[in-house]
Subunit: 239 residues, 2 copies
């Protein structure tokens, strides 16, 4: 089979693989195969696909990271870390205190950039599944989607999301260590921007999300997703 | 009381605080006080110390992060994140695959730089305790110190450390989620460099450390400390 154009370029120009070289290829949806380079030139590359081989196991719980877009290129690292920790999907959010508009994200082709990062991170960490980076949306739309999801579910939690907040944000805040030990089939963890949440956002989210805290110390905005995902996966025995 | 020179400069030049401005000061060993600016000029600053006030609670388990020195300035972020997660101390390590020598770290005054980062991170995250950044040492010395510590202890684990390894490193690897639920009074978590551990290092460490894994996916070296600390603190209900 022919490799996609950018992978062919990478194989020929960067890795400089010759005919016969052993490679592993994956389809981004969980299947991985041994393969050998059949042709490789500046015009493209073709591989002979061999046997299927075991990829890194995916987490049993499908976690979507809904992350408020951070300043500069900090989202790049968040996407990279989230893929390596094993998220199922990433939903970039524009919130009350996000400093970039949806239109600007679109003009800058940011989603496409983050999706490319997700592909390369999957390769690096040995996952055969590439998490989808979804089209950026507003916080309100994300909460509406979670509420809809809750109303569709015949059983399960009325609040399928988890919103990361400071311990003092509300009387209803629970610690990560107080989450149920049994993982749900799926959840969405919602992480805010540098400036945190507006009070109205916390109120609006409470209809679809439980409020969770990552402890008493203030974390950097660009570390929060990794800490939150690690805490969830530890609690649910995925680590 | 007079503020230390660099804090005085920060107060006068960066924060531009005037006489009477309310500040909080802390002694780096757990005590925090309300205070008011008494004098502030380019030559120094003096504050009137008021009542003690509650600082962020410290973790009940004293975790030392023993981290192999990473390339470039990646250690800066590791120190920052570790302080914010609540470590008690940081021990920089030179291991078989660390790409910088002890002498070069000393020449570059790297320990002093990391200690300054620890001070500013403590301020940012609301801790009144500044974790010590210890003098860099070799991996062998760190393991010897852990063995000594174990031999001194009248009770408790014969292996006081936890070495982060890949799941396939040994038959004795345990998952973070399989650690005891009860936190020990203290532990040392040992994290390797970009190139990982040499086989001999894993063998040598096993006398003083249990081998723990952070899951099947490959993490970036500069994320490992944060993931390991989060997993420990989640397991031990500090988050």
């Amino acid at each position: 089979m022919d490799l996609p154009r950018d992978e062919a370029q990478h194989l020929f120009r960067v890795l400089r693989l010759k005919i016969g070289a052993a490679v592993r290829i994956f389809n981004g949806r969980g299947a991985e195969f041994d393969a050998a380079v059949a042709t490789a030139s500046k015009d493209g590359a073709r591989v002979r696909v061999g046997d299927g081989c075991p990829a890194v196991t995916e987490a049993r719980v499908a976690v979507t990271l809904a992350q408020a877009v951070l300043k500069g290129d900090k989202m790049d690292d968040v996407v990279r870390d989230a893929v390596m920790m094993g998220v199922a999907a990433i939903q970039p959010l524009v919130t009350a205190r996000t400093e970039i508009a949806l239109a600007a994200l679109e003009r800058g082709h940011r989603r496409e950039r983050w999706q490319r990062i997700a592909v390369s991170s999957s390769k690096q960490c040995g996952r055969a599944v590439v998490p989808a980076v979804l089209e950026p949306c507003t916080f309100a739309d994300a909460i509406a989607a979670l509420r809809h999801q809750a109303s569709e579910a015949t059983s399960g939690s009325a609040r399928p999301g988890l919103l990361c907040v400071e311990p003092t944000a509300s009387a209803d805040v629970i610690a990560m260590g107080d989450l149920e030990v049994e993982a749900p089939p799926a959840t969405t963890i919602v992480v805010g921007p540098e400036g945190g949440w507006a009070t109205e956002e916390i109120a609006a989210a409470s209809q679809a999300c439980r409020l969770v805290t990552l402890g008493p110390r203030t974390l950097r905005a660009d570390s929060m997703a990794l800490v939150a995902l690690t805490a969830l996966f530890t609690r649910w025995r995925e680590l």
